[in-house]
Symmetry: C2
Subunit: 519 residues, 2 copies
């Protein structure tokens, strides 16, 4: 299989056609403008819906049939249950039972629990997946076994793609911990409470048909109505819709590694020394172990200096919830609860705010919150000497991670990547990232256990850190030191020609692609 | 000026072309289906908005210029301040100063405070108004002085018209009691707090440009974000944006008339005797004095019988707030606060819920809440022997009132009109309503001081009320009795041929029109 590749503004060769549809190549940060109109869903009418508001149908099969499931459709789902999702596999088992083929699965992310989907990819029920693939599905894709090309988007990019009509959803499946018969749904209540449902917002607004799947049906009205029943076609009640205890995944535990604790501490001290940590500042820290540790170090410094944040952006977890409850921040603006403390806090605390990729991240909007945030602390699998970063593959080229909100957060006023300088004796600081996910011009500070590199474009930060007790280093020197330790540069990945996944930028353009591993 | 009129399914002659655009005639309740797509707004991009999120501009004039105000545009506004709005007049004064002509003003309603708009209609700054006109603007329109034809829509119909692309808003003006620089806005806080901003929701979602006008700018984030800043172009800060004490208008005081108190009591007793008042039932009562009295009587009966509602729909006021605080209802679903108790409750009580015409009333949706409500208690200016009702004109033909949520609420499970049988010695029960706003098939019970008439189509209600102590009467007998008292039927209105206003049904079709008074 050969694909036409084109050179984009980042110098990457990318497919111009993805699964038969043309997609513009990346043209630089802030360079691409969409001169067109949003997707226009069909106008529904109350005439076609029950006047008593009861949209409950007997089972998933009935719902899918009622929604006209057929070959070639796009089925979406959200990942607020992360590795505890119990619904997506059932949806595709049902589709298989109904003899449907060539579906496009459009999850906001997939997890190891979705390994059973592989049989539906093999059998032809599913043509391809567009969405983050963690675990076995990432391997499957990397090995070139998927018929179609994967498309990875940031959370904001997924909203943008739906809003802009780039991805038309035929049937949205929205698993909701609590629902009323009209289809109003919330994530913050019920036996399977997972917090919020923001990743499904665009799906509800733009899909032709919307199915709510729940295990907790309550009388109208379900308050809050995180998802409006006015967008919903059917409600299906299962015995169990999700396992919320599994939203605590491996990426959401605090690190115990001394090196990573040091990195987190450096990052927090940088924020303080650079003058960012001042009253009414804001920060976003991801869910990785180092980011969690960063939050804890920063909270300590805030207490010590008597500084209070205006808002903290999460992925919420018990550490951020504690900061909110302690009054170290006015608001916790949450896009995804990462543990059950987050779920409880969202339900109980009016200052723990439910956000969505629309409010936070959509680049095709009249602004979004990500660019207002003073500091964003994120992860990366690789960074290069031009501060470009990779978040989806490692140096071996295998598709391992999703983009999440990572690209979107790069628009924060100061973007920091606290990362180890090497992993498994493979350097993380490289000449050129294997996969370009974030352009270096948006990445300000690389924090490693061996030193902190500031992007030369940020002369303001360099000036502020002059005379700092922190180990500020040149990224080239850092790379050389790491290569010395590791015995050289990483081995180039053993990839073939076949493009298995396209990586979208926040504006819908193609910033890079991932090739088949093993050729 | 002659207009082409066509006979609609209700037997009313209505214009098929309104201000140069074709509009379908009413084809019967639930008969019209929209086989087309929603309006598709232009896709914006963050590239065009400040990355620090600060959209504040110096004044209204700058904002209007920045938004490209020009001849012929449609400017929208909301009426949550009711007669205390201070912004709309300034907008059109500014437009006049800028020399702009032929604007369409598209308010969700206008009030006597907007009388200064008349000079802009006279001078040509405004071509015509589409929206409810209360007071002097209603007179102006009735007298045939407006160049274009008025269009009156229900709250749900206004959302539908915007959503469906029937009305394209160029610039939306959203007066908001509290706002952050990004444009997130709420009605429940600040010195001018008016409760909620739901009438402006569609405007924010679909207008090309959105201007927030406030007198209380707070740091990001403004929580709750009833209006999302992601839809907002500019923020303007004035010394004073509205006079919330004036949201308590003449229609929101409890009646002292013995006859109307009797009507209200009959209505409440009917609800109890018909078996509607049972645990987890729901009701909506309007803001008129009789409706308020109804709520008080019903609350008394609920207390006496130990019955608790699942939800009460408002227009909130202190009586409904008391019911909520007392635990007589689980939720108060509020579309418009009618007094400052309502505002306070919405701000403080998590069970006092902010709704919008989208959630509650939009007929071009996958259902809405109005049809779920057990009983809707509404007003009317006239009803006829076929239970058709009028809410916009009296028998003299003058345009006096807006439709509000009235048409939308007719879809409730039991629709009751508690009204006096005559006003100023003019019968309210007539052979045929002057203006048809609600088809009789949706109106179940007419409650007057002289008896209660049940729609013959509601055999279930007739059956339930057999043997009741309430004065159940035949509507023809009721009409005859009233004509005896008043000395005959009302004098036919002295109207000319010119259509001054079209009355829309909830689905966008034209159900009736209003002719010039005085010819």
């Amino acid at each position: 299989m050969t694909q036409n590749l084109t050179n984009n503004a980042a110098g990457r060769m990318v497919p111009s056609t993805i699964n038969g549809v043309k997609h513009p190549p990346f043209s630089g940060v802030g360079k691409y403008k969409p001169y067109r109109r949003k997707a226009a869903p069909l106008i529904p009418t109350c005439v076609d819906y029950p006047t008593d508001g009861n949209k409950v149908v007997s089972d998933l099969k009935t719902a899918l049939q009622k929604c006209g499931l057929k070959d070639g459709m796009t089925i979406s789902s959200h990942h607020h249950f992360r590795n505890g999702d119990l619904v997506a596999n059932q949806v595709f088992d049902t589709a298989a039972e109904l003899g449907v083929k060539d579906l496009r699965w459009f999850p906001s992310a997939s997890f190891p629990c979705h390994a059973p989907i592989i049989k539906h990819l093999d059998s032809g029920v599913i043509h391809h997946i567009e969405g983050s693939m963690n675990g076995p599905l990432g391997d499957y894709c990397s090995e070139g076994k998927m018929r179609g090309m994967a498309v990875l988007r940031s959370h904001g990019g997924r909203y943008q793609a739906i809003q802009d009509g780039e991805v038309h959803i035929d049937i949205a499946i929205i698993t909701a911990p609590t629902t009323d018969p009209f289809g109003n749904a919330t994530g913050d209540q019920g036996p399977s409470a997972c917090g919020l449902l923001g990743f499904a917002l665009a799906d509800s607004q733009y899909a032709d048909r919307v199915i709510i799947v729940t295990d907790n049906l309550i009388p109208f009205p379900c308050i809050p109505w995180q998802i409006h029943g006015n967008y919903v076609d059917c409600v299906v009640v299962l015995d169990k819709a999700g396992e919320p205890e599994k939203i605590v995944s491996g990426t959401t535990r605090i690190t115990k590694s001394p090196d990573r604790l040091l990195i987190a501490e450096y990052a927090a001290r940088f924020v303080a020394e650079a003058g960012i940590m001042q009253d009414n500042f804001s920060f976003q820290a991801g869910a990785g172990g180092t980011s969690l540790a960063f939050s804890i170090f920063l909270a300590d410094m805030m207490r010590e200096k008597g500084v209070k944040a205006r808002y903290v952006r999460g992925g919420s977890n018990k550490y951020l919830v504690e900061m909110l409850e302690e009054g170290l921040t006015d608001y916790l603006l949450d896009g995804q609860t990462f543990d059950l403390d987050g779920v409880r806090s969202m339900r109980e605390n009016p200052r723990h705010i439910n956000t969505s990729p629309f409010t936070s991240y959509n680049y095709h909007s009249k602004g979004n919150f990500a660019s207002l945030t003073d500091v964003a602390v994120l992860g990366a699998t690789e960074v290069d000497v031009n501060f470009n970063a990779n978040v989806v593959t490692h140096s071996d080229g295998k598709l391992l991670h999703g983009i999440g909100g990572w690209q979107n957060c790069l628009f924060g006023k100061c973007t920091m990547l606290p990362i180890p300088s090497f992993r498994d004796r493979i350097p993380v600081i490289v000449d050129e990232v294997t996969t370009l996910c974030g352009p270096g011009e948006l990445i300000d500070v690389i924090v490693t256990e061996r030193g902190i590199a500031i992007n030369p474009q940020r002369t303001d930060l360099i000036e502020k850190m002059r005379g700092s007790s922190l180990p500020i280093v040149n990224i080239h020197d850092l790379k050389a030191e790491v290569e010395d330790i590791c015995g050289g540069k990483p081995t180039p990945p053993n990839t073939g020609d076949k493009v298995v996944a396209a990586i979208k930028w926040v504006d819908g353009t193609v910033i890079d692609c991932v090739k088949q591993v093993g050729g």
